[in-house]
Symmetry: C2
Subunit: 141 residues, 2 copies
DNA sequence: ATCAATGCAAAAACTTTGCACTGAT
DNA sequence: ATCAGTGCAAAGTTTTTGCATTGAT
């Protein structure tokens, strides 16, 4: 079923790859570590080796299917499906929740800055860290 | 000599801490991994344990003396001295060089976005990745 | 049938921790 | 003299790799 997407980026359709892509596609709001993916698949009785999860996520990244992040504080890398539209991240340091946003002005400004410095931008990432003022913000232990 | 700065942030002045601070202060343009710091000190005949380097850098970070970064691609954390003025980073994916910049408009915009989303920002980081068009850009092997 | 992809276990890479000793006040 | 800080070695985490086996075309 994930046949098309995988072929498109030049990856042979295998069970692990299809399952991981499926998982990411049905949780576009989440940011998965390799462990997360591994455990989610296990829970679904879809056994995949952890090494394979790492390999597949790295391949997906190289293929432009996913983006890898290193959030402040976290030691693991986390991945999310790339859905065509770039977005940035805002993370609550209390509850760990991640919010996504995008801003045309900032994007424009980045291009101008890169141009001035003589750079061809291939990639960029903006992370805001703070505390959400929501009453439902559960503090991390 | 690094007495004052360390005391100010509530850290007892010890040889390892003074040496590491000294190293960072005389290389404000560099981004050091713990290993980098360790090796630089060894080369200067200033023996310090690697574990201590990690501990001190973490303390410096907590004290607001340094900032920790996880650049794209790199697996190690790197540190740089915090010099009061916030700045962002632009990294060349060819030669690895890091350029610093800061932009008032982007800063403003971030505040507005955070406000709209009901966040109190404590921290932020913007990374641009690309290729510098300089003729002296040495490609990574 | 072929060759890439997988799973496992082992290794590597990076960072943290325990503990006895050293050093700053 | 005291107690925080250090160094070393050991352990922890996260990620990668080697190799025999499995699976997709």
């Amino acid at each position: 079923m994930k046949n098309r997407e995988l072929k498109k980026v030049g990856l042979k359709t295998t069970q692990p790859r299809a399952r991981i892509l499926q998982l990411l596609e049905s949780n576009t709001d989440r940011h998965f570590s390799a462990e997360d993916v591994y455990r989610c698949l296990l829970e679904n009785e879809e056994d995949v080796g952890l090494a394979t999860v790492y390999r597949v996520l790295t391949q997906f990244e190289a293929a432009g299917l996913v983006t890898r992040h290193h959030f402040e504080g976290g030691k693991l890398a986390v991945f999310e499906l790339d859905q065509g539209v770039h977005h940035d991240h805002l993370m609550c340091l209390n509850c760990g929740k991640i919010f996504e946003f995008s801003d045309e002005l900032i994007e424009e400004r980045q291009k101008i800055i890169a141009e001035q410095l003589g750079f061809d931008i291939t990639d960029h990432a903006l992370y805001l860290y703070g505390k959400c003022r929501k009453e439902n913000c559960e503090h991390l232990k």
